[in-house]
């Protein structure tokens, strides 16, 4: 009797240990982005897309390395670099090895620096930084490091593709550049100025302006200046509430030319622009949603819509991030040795379901991919955004944009 009790206790104990071991084996991915405040919608939508990508692409297909699952854990950084570093420490203490972040290059700059430092000091708990949306070029140039990988095109690449399209349009003579006053907004402005000058010296930049980020209540004075400058087109890197506020205000005050945006779709914006934005709002981004590029993409989108009826896949790079991370972990054969995973990511070529091949450039960890200019419209849209009738339709494509662009990155490898 005593033996049976013992046996029972031992087997119960081993079951518990086994179960907790299996649980601990989950590959944790820390999602550090704003989940409250003015940019909460952008962050929350990103988190949903990450969770879905992990479940759909990895967990439901049996996981990685004999059944390990990817678990995405959200950390609210309130869009503050300081708060992000605290959340990073919390994440590392919880045993996270992979950090994803995207909203605000200011935050990304702080994170990449902190992670570089952390990895040098703590070789046993190194982490990788998978940047899915912070597009300040410096992150893969001067400030690059071995631990940082960028899955979005940086703002120079986007601007390169965008200015190619603008340069081909002879009707555009005057351009107004406006953005948020921080590193990314400045990078957009600098790139627009230098690239337009090189490609179309006859185009005049009639305005080049920065406004405080997340603080402007009413954009009317800015749009007044844009309208009265006689600009044919506007370029803006704004995002979140700043994008919608600016866009609406420009349109409301009588502007009819194209507004080329980096982030002018999804997160409620497409529905809010509605009819007024048709033929005006343009989006430069990677990944094609309309027309659907592949049957896999359609199946993925349908499954996402079934789970989040009001959600959008407005960041196809998120599924690319999870897909490439999964492929790298499989190739490296480990999820704990992040150096091996990083080495597997370097130079990886990945067939994206959103069309085209992705190439992780080894020298600066910048992903090279097709770039698309899409228009906000309600015609020919298969997958609408924000449960409205509107969506973005690809108008033109630049294949493997800026594949041979230069990088000032001098990477130190471990």
């Amino acid at each position: 009797m005593k033996n049976i009790t013992k046996l029972g206790a031992v087997s119960a104990l081993s079951l518990i240990i086994g179960a907790s071991a299996a649980f601990a084996e989950d590959i944790k991915v820390a999602f550090i982005d704003p989940l409250s405040g003015p940019f909460a919608s952008t962050g929350t939508n990103g988190l949903h897309q990450f969770e879905f990508a992990a479940d759909y692409m990895v967990n439901e297909k049996g996981g990685l390395l004999d059944g390990k699952k990817i678990e995405v854990v959200g950390f609210d950084n309130k869009i503050s670099p300081k708060e992000s570093l605290i959340q990073l420490q919390v994440a590392i203490d919880q045993g996270v090895r992979f950090v994803v972040q995207g909203n605000s290059s200011g935050v990304a700059n702080a994170l990449t620096e902190a992670i570089d430092k952390h990895n040098r000091r703590n070789p046993d708990s190194r982490v990788l930084f998978l940047n899915y949306a912070a597009v300040d070029p410096a992150l893969t140039n001067d400030k690059c490091n071995f631990w940082h990988f960028r899955f979005d095109a940086n703002s120079d690449i986007k601007m390169d593709a965008l200015t190619d399209v603008i340069a081909a349009d002879d009707e555009v003579k005057k351009i107004y550049v406006i953005g948020q006053d921080y590193s990314f907004g400045k990078a957009v402005s600098a790139a627009a100025n230098s690239m337009l000058k090189a490609k179309r010296p006859d185009i005049e930049i009639v305005g080049d302006e920065l406004h405080p980020i997340g603080k402007v209540k009413d954009f009317t004075p800015y749009s007044r200046k844009i309208v009265s400058s006689g600009a044919d087109a506007v370029i803006t890197g704004n995002w979140g509430a700043d994008m919608l506020g600016l866009g609406r205000s420009i349109i409301e005050n009588g502007f009819t030319g194209p507004i080329y945006t980096y982030y002018g779709a999804g997160s409620g914006m497409t529905a809010a622009f509605g009819d007024s934005g048709k033929g005006i709002i343009r989006l430069i981004s990677e990944g094609q949603v309309n027309p659907p590029p592949t049957p896999e993409a359609s199946a993925y989108y349908d499954a996402f819509s079934a789970k989040y009826p009001e959600g959008n896949i407005d960041q196809t790079r998120i599924s690319n991030t999870i897909g490439m991370l999964a492929a790298a972990i499989e190739k490296a054969g480990t999820a704990d040795d992040v150096v091996a995973v990083a080495n597997a990511l370097e130079g990886m070529e990945y067939e994206s379901m959103w069309g085209g091949t992705l190439f992780m450039r080894p020298n600066d960890h910048q992903l090279i991919q097709d770039m698309h200019i899409a228009a906000h419209t309600n015609e020919g849209i298969t997958y609408t955004f924000d449960s409205s009738d509107y969506g973005v339709l690809v108008e033109s494509t630049v294949e493997m944009a800026s594949k041979d662009s230069e990088s000032s990155c001098e990477m130190k490898r471990p």
Partner: protein
């Protein structure tokens, strides 16, 4: 010259909107002696309620019903929340309103989500009222001006010309005397709180389509409302009006004209350092007015607090 007129109109719209918020807040302050941190949250509730109602019944019903709802909720908050907390002093009241602001924001996110709401103005006002040298003034803005001016005149009339207004004014200054004369002062307070929050609700209803309806809208406007009533003088309706318009025009003009710090400094006789790139004040020299437009009201507040602590029209002097 044309642009000045356009900017005057734009600044007027911004200022009047701010006034509708600060009018209620300043009334409530003179009543309770405590700032209502949740005031901007009632503004947000107004916008969300109006959005929800506008889906079913159209914009105009939203404009009618949403402020009433907000006012009723506000009155309820005073009756069942603040009045109980009041006996414990000012600090608990302050903390109560602060907590309420957080609660309302979470509640809004819980019900409507974190996305922008596609809340739009009425179709009938979706045209250009007139244009000044290419700058169109949307009819909706003119509508906003009329609504806010109407509310101000109405408020002024009720407060200064009617019996109710006189009792309110008396109750605000000498609650005990008024009570002794047989008036129900707690009821008056509840009414003032309700009307104040309803005003914030109206502001939300008409500002939602222009400034966007999202969970951060209270946060974005919250601090500037406090600045407004501090500049105008706590408890003064005229002060709130003047300060609102002042802030509206200052920020609008600062954004519209690229005044550079370099020009200002040169103008007062300080010459530009030769090698600006190496200068430690480089960022200061290269400042432009649109960059700092939104912090100008805060600078103004600091100046007011230094030179006229009671505010422009304030009566209280400690």
């Amino acid at each position: 010259m044309d642009l000045i007129l356009v900017n005057l109109i734009d600044g007027l719209v911004t200022g009047l909107l701010l006034f509708m918020l600060s009018a209620g807040l300043t009334l409530i302050f003179s009543m309770m002696g405590v700032l209502n941190f949740a005031h901007a949250s009632f503004y947000m509730l107004g916008a969300y309620f109006a959005y929800q109602i506008s889906i079913a019944l159209g914009f105009w019903m939203g404009l009618l019903i949403a402020p009433l709802l907000v006012g009723v909720i506000g009155a309820g908050v005073e009756r069942y929340g603040l009045r109980r907390v009041h006996q414990y002093g000012h600090v608990p009241e302050l903390i109560f309103t602060f907590g309420l602001a957080l609660l309302i924001e979470e509640l809004v996110q819980f019900i409507w989500g974190k996305n922008q709401m596609p809340y739009n103005g009425p179709e009938i006002l979706n045209f250009t009222a007139f244009a000044i040298s290419g700058n169109s003034i949307p009819a909706y803005k003119i509508f906003m001006i009329f609504i806010s001016v109407g509310i101000f005149l109405g408020l002024l009339y009720v407060l200064t010309k009617t019996r109710v207004g006189m009792i309110i004014q008396a109750a605000l200054s000498y609650p005990r005397t008024v009570e002794a004369l047989g008036h129900n002062v707690p009821l008056i307070f509840m009414g003032v709180f309700g009307v104040g929050t309803a005003l914030a609700g109206v502001a939300g209803v008409i500002a939602g389509p222009v400034l966007g309806t999202f969970p951060g809208m209270a946060f974005v406007l919250g601090s500037i409302v406090f600045v407004t009533i501090v500049i105008g003088g706590l408890g003064s309706l005229w002060g709130a009006l003047v300060a609102s318009l002042l802030i509206g025009w200052i920020t609008t003009f600062a954004k519209s004209y690229n005044i550079e710090m370099e020009d200002i400094l040169n103008g007062i006789g300080i010459s530009t350092p030769e090698n600006l790139d190496d200068n430690i004040f480089r960022d200061f020299w290269s400042l432009t007015s649109p960059q700092i437009a939104d912090i100008l009201p805060y600078i103004l507040m600091v100046l007011i607090l230094i030179f006229r602590p009671a505010g422009l029209f304030g009566k209280r002097i400690q």
